[in-house]
Symmetry: C2
Amino acid sequence: MQPQSIESRRNARVQAFCRLRDSAAERKRAGRFVLEGLRLCADCAETGVPLAAAFVTEAARKKGGARMDALLAAANEVFYISEPVAERLSDTVTTQGVFAEAFLPAARPFAPQPGERYLALEAVQNPQNLGAAARTAEALGLSGLLLFSGCDRFSPKALRASMGSLLRLPVFETDALPAALKAASKTLPVFAAVPDRDAPRVQTVDFSGGAVVVVGNEANGVSEVVRALASPVTVPMAGRAESLNAAAAAAILMWEMVRV
Amino acid sequence: MQPQSIESRRNARVQAFCRLRDSAAERKRAGRFVLEGLRLCADCAETGVPLAAAFVTEAARKKGGARMDALLAAANEVFYISEPVAERLSDTVTTQGVFAEAFLPAARPFAPQPGERYLALEAVQNPQNLGAAARTAEALGLSGLLLFSGCDRFSPKALRASMGSLLRLPVFETDALPAALKAASKTLPVFAAVPDRDAPRVQTVDFSGGAVVVVGNEANGVSEVVRALASPVTVPMAGRAESLNAAAAAAILMWEMVRV
């Protein structure tokens, strides 16, 4: 299909993009999500996630390169956009002028194998924390991520903070948390990170057979239902801060899961 | 001194506040920095940093509480501000309407003692990373932070991300990095975090006598001059991500420094 031009910020495709950018409910309804930035768009194309559309400014297209070629080749539709349209689509302060609309991948069944290591995030609200945890999970070689209760995997901020790890890692989402943890516990020990001083310290836990470790909401920690299904584990703190940031706690927990 | 009212966004004190908020150079020139949010302002008052001024909306003042009392008592000048002024002063999406202007603390001489553990950050650009690393440092009980080469400690974003840890922790700043590391190395071993696969892995390093560990710039890592003065240490990565986020790497390194 020939590329089409979009000059107006009120264009219907522009408005649809912005709705997908701003609303998790709209992403779910439409079965699509959006990406900004050449690297993230090209990463997405490379992972095989089908791209519904690419939106690029003339300046970005002229800069070109292998990533731009890959992006334009992977997209079902290509739109050449004006600078004002790029500013409208952008979620950042200075935009590169490169955007894509992608189809949400099909849900995967969570079927953990012995020896695998998963980080589970329950109701983590801050997309920076979600993205940072995913990036660390990929860097440390975890088997995947489990997301529960509104962790918004396709939030543009989370995708950007993850540097694409949220697209590359195996990610499993569920709204039926107790069932998923119960099923997982037949194969792997399940732990919940808690701030209790008398919980077993993470460095004393044997992760050699694999594990699922749940990190909870920034303000409230893991829920009671998760606590009831999991063994407690804690990152001991010597200092005065009330608690570690969720992404920092997750980094230390994941490090201990893979530390040999 | 009686509280004064500020109704206009063009008021000179409002403009001065915004300059301090937005510019590290202006903070240095004026010897002041700014804070937003009741908790951070009250934390600052509690740590004994002198407050030049407090700016509060009527709604915030009416909500009151012990922290508000502490803030108003600690400030040399108190300004009652209108909601439009609060929006002008704010660096956040939804403001609480509570702000303070504080005097920059005097520089401390860095005189590390045997057994102490310091994280040093070299040219870390992202205030979120700086704030997150400070929060983790305080939670894990590190002895303090060393900041080099433009790590902007009094950036409002860094202060907020640190949840006040940047005000409570001993923080040392220097522009003479080689001299500071050379002096430190007489008392403590100095390490530089590097992504090299053949560098000693962090879990094999003996931190029992204390240490200084340097984490570098997000894009370029530690500089050559630091590498030359320090022993390399690495967080081994199994995965595909190019590298850990600076705050996540710092969390794992600090954890290993205090892990027993």
